[in-house]
């Protein structure tokens, strides 16, 4: 059977056909964009930080009475933590990955450069930092113990050298000769050399959009031991002992000084919290997309059923004239295919248009056009599945119907 009778049948039901096509087009436009966003956010929240997350936790401590020498207090804490069973290593830091916000700096290649060469996260750490976090050095060397200097709010000594991440090194020196080169970070008048390159150490920012997302993998590790009223310790536990070490570490620090506010969180916990909003967005989008597909499918079922009911007599006549059940089913399937194809084509255009507009108006990611095409295929399949039931009902109309009424 040719397409002609289907087209002429459709012409009598223009409005219904247009409704279904429009519904599919709009569904596709939102589906493709939502999928793009879902993919982007899932990938974003799954990015590795470079840290041995399974075994590392963060302890923040602050003395409530502010008496005594903060440097001595910190040294006591660190020594106590290091002597604890199950602790691999410890170091004091300013910020940590997935913290949500933190110290950002500009990096310049020449003194007082007007436009900075890069933006970067700015971490402090000592010679134990790499080992504690489980970072890999891909070039150069680690800090030595005698390079580490104390840093306070009122005393900021010059860094003898920096460790930088591979991402930052590549950004600053695309030729690949970053090691040994001098960069200006924080101090715009005096540079320090890059002494080592870290494979990966993510910055403390978690936002999937905005300025901080553009330098998420840029980090500088400076050889400072931060001393102040509060301290933050990164602790790495023996594999599998994180929970017990966390507990004994807290008890130990409270033993040393009960007048403190102490908070410890595992990196796993931090990750969960950091991407909670992202996860919420993904769940909401998945829910809306599923509902969209279901509603569209029911729309097809509803309207096709109506057409079947409307054309009972015509179908009966066709059956009486010798059309097989298969031919009737095929009629509705072809009809649906034509409508869905029109909807899908319109939908691809809508999806691309919507994406361009969203990229301009909101901080939306660009859509890969294959998503729109994949969505179009999905629409065709959805249409065929939805039309099956009413089409089978149509095929079961007895030919005898044609002889009655009319």
């Amino acid at each position: 059977m040719g397409i002609h009778p289907i087209l002429s049948a459709m012409r009598r039901n223009k409005f219904g056909a247009i409704l279904i096509a429009a519904q599919m087009a709009v569904t596709l436009a939102f589906l493709a964009n939502a999928l793009t966003l879902i993919e982007h956010r899932l990938a974003w929240s799954a990015r590795p930080t470079g840290v041995d997350e399974a075994n590392v936790f963060v302890m923040s401590t602050e003395s409530t009475d502010h008496v005594g020498d903060p440097a001595a207090r910190q040294a006591t804490d660190l020594a106590a933590l290091r002597s604890l069973g199950g602790v691999v290593d410890v170091y004091p830091t300013n910020d940590f990955p997935m913290q949500g916000g933190g110290w950002a700096e500009t990096v310049e290649l020449v003194a007082n450069q007007q436009t900075p060469a890069a933006l970067t996260a700015y971490y402090f750490g000592d010679e134990r930092a790499l080992h504690t976090l489980g970072l890999t050095l891909v070039a150069g060397r680690n800090f030595s113990a005698d390079e580490i200097v104390v840093r306070t709010d009122s005393n900021v000594p010059q860094a003898s050298g920096f460790l930088v991440t591979k991402a930052l090194a590549q950004r600053l020196f695309p030729a690949g000769d970053a090691l040994g080169r001098s960069i200006f970070v924080e101090n715009t008048a005096a540079p320090s050399p890059i002494i080592g390159i870290i494979d990966r150490l993510q910055g403390p920012y978690t936002g999937a959009t905005g300025i901080t997302s553009t330098f998420a993998e840029n980090s500088v590790l400076a050889p400072y031991r931060p001393i102040g009223e509060s301290s933050r310790y990164m602790v790495r536990a023996q594999p599998g002992q994180l929970a017990s070490v966390m507990k004994s570490a807290e008890a130990k620090l409270f033993d040393l000084d009960g007048n403190r506010i102490l908070r410890s969180r595992s990196m796993a916990e931090i990750r969960l919290q950091a991407y909670r909003g992202n996860r919420g967005l993904v769940v909401l989008l998945v829910a809306v997309c599923t509902a969209l597909l279901i509603v569209t499918a029911f729309g097809v079922i509803g309207l096709t059923s109506y057409w079947v009911a409307q054309r009972r007599q015509q179908i009966g006549i066709r059956r009486a004239l010798g059309a097989t059940r298969r031919a009737i089913v095929k009629h509705f399937q072809t009809e649906n295919f034509l409508i869905a194809a029109a909807g899908a084509l319109g939908g691809i255009a809508c999806a691309i248009g919507l994406n361009l507009w969203m990229v301009r108006s909101f901080e939306m990611v660009r859509m890969d056009n294959s998503r729109a095409i994949g969505g179009a295929l999905l629409m065709l399949i959805l249409g065929q599945l939805a039309v099956l039931w009413p089409a089978l009902r149509a095929a079961s109309i007895p030919p005898a119907l044609a002889t009655r009424g009319g």
Binding site: F15, V26, T106, N155, I211, I261, L285, V295, G299
Partner: protein, 437 residues
């Protein structure tokens, strides 16, 4: 007649249960999804201080010049002020009321020695802060301008904090310890939590923040460090005094300007201030200043995250699809009754009467769908509460306006979707239908 049509509408709903249920479900689900995001969006983009938002202004002064490092905002202005500029504005007293403010973190030792010390969010502000923002008091009141001058050790606490520390009694005159210093309570706030937290968007725009308020000058004297964002154009010498002398921006500033003339005057004052700074050699660029009221400020700071905009868009797209769907089903349902309509027309019903009847019928569907959608919105908000970060929980409350919007949206959208099918119904030819019977 209307009651009769409503009765007919209800009866016809019962006649084709599957189709009706599908229609109500489609509308309900669409309304539920869009209302859930709309509720959150409305709370985020709402006016936190409607009675005064047009009289409160945040001034901005370009103290970094055109050669700023890093990313630049759209108008090349920073959204906070340096200590130098904020103090100059305070001294000038060019507005009816004004206050520089910032947030700091202090240790609080509860009066009950059994409780552990806790860290509290403390807002440093001037006495004008309270009358300027219409802050309600339960007990006592704001401190005075004289307290500002004398750097008095006085505090205002929120109602929650008062409940926690003093069990909710009138605590005026009692003392609390903040960072090992004694402070006298002069005021207890009543419930007050502007959403968004317009006067300082750096901390948590939608969550709770300030728990205790104390005089700005005292906070500065005691070197209480800001915990919001601090941005510096260039390297700054270490230490508190150097920070105060620097061009780092870290202070919020608000001014109350009741009339348009006051606003005009203040704009002029800001411009002249920047010009003066250029004349004395501090700035070497043309004056660049800005003055925005509360709602302009919230838009400027993009307080509604782009994710929420996207969600809103997606859910209204979904509502649109649901309505297209309902429209198709409605068409099927109404045209399925072309016979009845033909009979009514033949018995003398006018087109208008048929139109009215069908419209009432779709209205009934829309109302039911809207109510169903409202229930879904409630569920949606409950699940959103468990999904979203804690700071957003305050946004997931359904108010009376939201309920009205949901039901009206349901009716309006369904009736709009039903217009074409209804119009078709009204044009059913009586003779043709009767013959077909």
């Amino acid at each position: 007649m209307l009651a009769y049509y409503v009765g007919l509408g209800l009866r016809s709903l019962r006649r084709n249960v599957a189709l009706t249920a599908l229609m109500i479900a489609a509308i309900g689900v669409g309304i539920g999804a869009s209302m859930t995001t709309l509720t959150v969006f409305r709370a985020m983009s709402g006016n936190p201080i409607p009675q005064k938002s047009h009289q409160l202004f945040a001034p901005q002064i370009d103290n970094w010049g055109p050669n700023k490092p890093g990313e630049q905002s759209e108008d090349q202005l920073e959204d906070q002020l340096s200590y130098i500029d904020a103090m100059a504005l305070m001294r000038a007293h060019a507005a009816r009321r004004q206050s520089a403010l910032y947030l700091t973190h202090l240790f609080l030792r509860p009066p009950d020695q059994q409780q552990k010390p806790l860290k509290v969010m403390v807002r440093a502000a001037y006495a004008d802060f309270f009358p300027m923002f219409d802050v309600p008091f339960k007990y006592g009141g704001a401190w005075t301008a004289a307290d500002d001058e004398s750097r008095a050790a006085v505090v205002v606490v929120t109602r929650d904090m008062n409940d926690r520390l003093f069990g909710g009694i009138n605590s005026i005159g009692k003392t609390i310890h903040l960072d090992n210093e004694m402070y006298r309570v002069v005021g207890v706030l009543d419930d007050w939590q502007p959403i968004p937290h317009f006067y300082d968007l750096h901390v948590v725009p939608f969550g709770e923040s300030d728990e205790i308020f104390l005089p700005f000058n005292r906070a500065i004297d005691k070197h209480m460090a800001g915990i919001g964002q601090t941005s510096c154009m260039s390297e700054v010498q270490a230490g508190w005094e150097a920070r105060l002398r620097s061009d780092c921006v870290w202070l919020q500033f608000w001014a109350e300007l009741p009339t348009a003339a006051d606003v005009q005057k203040y704009r002029g004052y800001l411009y002249n201030y920047a010009a003066e700074q250029r004349r004395v050699g501090r700035f070497n660029w043309p004056p660049h200043t800005q003055l925005r009221d509360v709602m302009q400020w919230l838009r400027y700071r993009h307080v509604v995250p782009s994710e929420v905009n996207i969600l809103l868009l997606v859910s209204f797209g979904f509502l649109f699809v649901c309505l297209l769907n309902a429209m198709g089903l409605m068409l099927a349902k109404i045209m399925g009754r072309a016979g009845d309509i033909g009979v009514r027309r033949a018995l003398g019903a006018s087109r208008g009467a048929i139109f009215a009847q069908c419209l009432v019928e779709t209205g009934v569907v829309g109302f039911t769908g809207g109510v169903f959608g409202l229930a879904l919105t409630g569920l949606g908000l409950l699940s959103a509460r468990s999904l979203l970060p804690k700071d957003f929980v305050a946004l997931t409350h359904l108010d009376a306006a939201d309920v009205a919007i949901a039901v009206l949206l349901g009716i309006a959208a369904t009736v709009a979707a039903g217009l074409y099918p209804t119009w078709r119904a009204a044009h059913v030819l009586p003779a043709w239908q009767l013959k077909a019977q």
